[in-house]
């Protein structure tokens, strides 16, 4: 049965997938970030995000808000007031707390800071405070999300399983995926369509592709493999994920996001 040990295992699995070694504990300090960005590029921010997930998120959480009083993704720190403060803390740690020093270069640390600023700047709408229980009802009811997605063994497997989505994605990303799903489709959510030489069309979520073959889980939830030489045509297609901009109002959107954020693995919330 799911138990504390299991939850730890799931966490450990997610940590394995996403974060790597634990470094960066109990950071930092309270304050609000200035909105001005540095001269970082999009790839700098992406690099910073990668480093954050590998080195920081294991303690701070993927949203950066798992340590009380600190919300890295919303610019809430304990004492840091400037980028330089943050870079120093990342590199030297905070003595007397679990936040350790790291061996990050100035450049790496600055990229992490750039990433944190970018996430703070993109915190959306919101505004409304979500209610996960209401969000669950919307997810399973009005939203019809379970017709494609699966949570804790309930729902379809056409879209990605969302049982652990709260460990993997931040609330801002989740909200954006609901409102504008085409803006960013993760590789694990890409769809593919093949037409066989005898005219059969099959589409589904792509699981693997190589020079000669394609593997997917199709819309009938079958694991399918195709040899490209036997196909008349094949290629990526848009994700069937609809926009919920017109379906959910602001409060409902916040509720669903809260629910998704609460999904940290089997048995949660």
């Amino acid at each position: 049965m799911p138990n504390a040990r299991f939850k730890m295992q799931m966490r450990s699995r997610a940590a394995h997938l996403l974060f790597g070694s634990a470094v960066f504990a109990f950071c930092i300090l309270t304050f609000a970030l200035p909105a001005t960005a540095q001269h970082e590029t999009a790839s700098d921010i992406e690099d910073g995000g990668r480093v954050f997930r590998q080195s920081c998120a294991n303690c701070h959480g993927p949203d950066g808000n798992e340590i009380p009083g600190i919300d890295l993704g919303r610019g809430v720190f304990k004492t840091a007031k400037t980028d330089e403060d943050l870079v120093r803390i990342i590199q030297k740690g905070v003595p007397g707390t679990p936040m350790p020093a790291t061996n990050m270069s100035d450049e790496q640390a600055k990229r992490v800071v750039a990433y944190l600023r970018s996430t703070a700047a993109t915190k959306t709408s919101a505004t409304a405070v979500g209610d996960a229980a209401r969000g669950k009802a919307l997810f399973e009811g009005k939203g019809g999300c379970v017709k494609c997605h699966r949570v804790n063994g309930v729902g379809a497997r056409i879209g990605p399983d969302l049982t652990r989505i709260g460990q993997l994605r931040q609330s801002a990303n989740l909200e954006r995926s609901l409102v504008d799903p085409a803006a960013e489709v993760l590789p694990t959510g890409r769809f593919y369509r093949v037409v066989t030489k005898d005219g059969a069309t099959v589409s589904g979520r792509l699981l693997n592709i190589d020079t000669f073959t394609v593997q997917m889980i199709d819309t009938k939830e079958q694991l399918r493999s195709f040899t490209k030489a036997n196909l008349k045509e094949h290629g990526f297609i848009p994700s069937p994920m609809p926009s919920y901009k017109a379906t959910f109002n602001t409060q409902e959107l916040a509720d669903v996001v809260s629910y998704l954020v609460s999904l940290k693995g089997r048995g949660t919330p």
């Binding site: 394995h16 017709k147 693997n208 009938k220 089997r266």
Partner: protein, 543 residues
């Protein structure tokens, strides 16, 4: 209804139908022989015959087998798992406990689920796993930290995770689970240490424990008096290989491991039930129906964790519901699987610790063949005549096919790990991943595949290898026997004569049993070697 919700409704309806189509029911598992394109349990069916009705590969065309694909595991552990084949998808384990779904035609991955066992997990002989079980659209795996996991076969998502026993107390699970009706049954390994072995059944849907059988009886239970003092508390008797199931009696059969400490019985005087035994359990209750002990008061580590093979045979002119067993202790057995009655037994390799059976089938020990201070040469070796690799029974030939060692021996020293006999300490070393240079002469053990007549337990033929083997055996309705060994060869033999039909050099040791399946009319045969899984089929233009 909006266009979108309409589309969703259609999708949902299709999904419901598709899910039903994909269900691997227990009936399908029981009659795996009715769908030979699949391989639905560890040895094909719960009878564990490791026999396939597929006929495309035959004795005349096996020479045209060629490699179709290789899947390399990201692992430095031995690859002991037998894959399951379910409607074009192979499911296997990347040691220790990652689960992988592969396209059966190309070997390309659908998904991989990684599982990190607890750091305290300990195994005696490699961080290995021998395979999965499936029921419905759920896969089941025991882990080396003694958990039982259920995974969605379509996505690899972990559905539940139940701790069977504590890894901190040296329990682990390496066997493929046994499915019986709506239950998943597993046993706990670790019997070389101070555990008390267990077999437990869990609800396949929820992971809730339904019953638990201890392989060492507790105080007040029959058999507890076969352990002196408190030795029963830590007497070992692990269970670490696949069980069998007979629907006619609703009995599950498991082989049990050695008593602990392994090589010194002075602290655990008595027969040490139910070590080195086969236990027949009522699968509704977990109650013991019968047992047969192969090696009472074992001091040579002769685990009886071989795979029980069930066969309906003509035995001495009468139909018999038999159980065939080639044991690590060098003796081969025919038991009545309904009653546990000993029908026949015989040494199938050179054995010097026993010289026959009494009327009830208890082995007659040879005086002096026990560990001594000076060391006693005992046959077979501590690793046995065969160890855990799965054998095969072909209902077409009526023969029992076993890959095993011959001429092995060990020096049993009181209170110590038994030494190899002779000048070569590597006489029968355990399987590893990579090939090793081999220098033994035949007096220091060699490997064979032999075909035994269950009526006489005499070999009809023998295929001899230079080195010993940790590989299993597969037979098919094409009358082909597949096996492989420590030398890294995978080969096909004529099931009636033992003649070599074909071989391939795989570059790594074979530590698993072969299996076969078909996709789109093409028969494949797989074998794991080194840390990779290899799939062979007939050349495109071959007949």
């Amino acid at each position: 209804m909006t266009r979108r919700t309409g589309l969703f409704a259609v999708v949902a309806a299709v999904v419901a139908v598709a899910s039903l189509q994909a269900q691997v029911t227990f009936e399908r598992i029981l009659r795996g022989d009715r769908e030979p394109h699949n391989w639905l349990s560890y040895s094909g069916t719960p009878f564990n015959q490791r026999y396939s009705p597929l006929t495309q590969i035959t004795t005349t065309n096996a020479r045209n087998l060629e490699l179709q694909w290789i899947w390399q595991a990201r692992s430095l552990e031995k690859f002991e798992a037998t894959a399951l084949a379910v409607d074009g998808v192979l499911y296997t384990v990347q040691a220790p406990n990652d689960v992988v779904a592969l396209d059966a035609e190309t070997g390309r991955p659908f998904w991989t689920t990684t599982y990190a066992p607890a750091p305290e997990a300990r195994t005696c002989c490699g961080r290995v796993n021998r395979g999965l079980a499936i029921l419905g659209d759920t896969l089941y795996m025991g882990t080396i930290d003694a958990h039982l996991l259920a995974l969605d076969a379509k996505t690899g998502e972990i559905l539940w995770n139940t701790e069977v026993a504590s890894a901190k107390d040296r329990y682990s699970i390496t066997m493929s689970p046994l499915i019986v009706k709506d239950k998943v049954i597993v046993g706990t390994a670790g019997g070389d240490g101070p555990i008390r072995g267990q077999i437990a059944a869990f609800d396949a849907k929820t992971g809730k424990e339904l019953w638990r059988f201890y392989t060492i009886p507790g105080p007040g239970e029959p058999g507890n008096d076969t352990w002196s003092g408190d030795s029963w508390k830590t007497g070992g008797v692990g269970v670490w290989n696949a069980g069998a199931y007979d629907p006619e009696t609703n009995l599950a059969f498991f082989g049990t491991g050695n008593p602990a400490p392994d090589w010194d019985g002075r602290s655990r005087l008595g027969d040490n039930l139910y070590s080195d035994s086969v236990v027949a359990l009522d699968t509704d209750t977990g109650k013991l129906k019968w047992h047969y002990q192969f090696t009472p008061h074992d001091e040579l580590d002769y685990d009886s964790t071989q795979v029980p093979v069930l066969a309906d045979i003509q035995f001495r002119g009468k139909p018999r519901k038999a159980m065939l067993w080639a044991n690590r202790n060098g003796l081969m057995y025919v038991l009545d699987r309904v009653t546990g009655e000993f029908l026949h037994g015989r040494a199938y390799v050179k054995v010097n610790w026993a010289d026959g059976f009494d009327s009830k089938g208890r082995p007659q020990r040879v005086p002096g063949m026990v560990p001594t201070k000076a060391g006693t040469v005992i046959r077979p070796h501590v690793h046995g005549a065969t160890n855990w690799a799965p054998p095969s029974f072909s209902p077409r030939t009526g023969l029992f096919y076993v890959a095993h060692f011959e001429n092995s021996s060990t020096v049993a020293v009181e209170g110590e790990f038994p030494r190899a006999n002779g000048i070569n300490p590597r006489q029968t070393t355990m399987g590893q991943i990579n090939l090793q240079n081999f220098l033994n002469n035949e007096d220091e053990a060699y490997g064979v595949v032999r075909a035994y007549d269950p009526n006489t337990l005499e070999a009809k033929w023998e295929y001899k290898m230079a080195d010993i083997t940790w590989g299993g055996v597969l037979t098919t309705a094409g009358d082909v026997v597949f096996s492989g060994g420590k030398e890294g060869y995978f080969f096909a033999l004529d099931a009636r004569t033992g003649a070599l039909l074909w071989k391939a050099a795989l570059g790594g040791q074979v530590n698993a049993g072969p299996m076969t399946y078909s996709v789109n009319g093409k028969q494949y045969v797989t074998i794991a070697a080194g840390n990779s899984l290899f799939a062979f089929a007939l050349r495109g233009d071959a007949k």
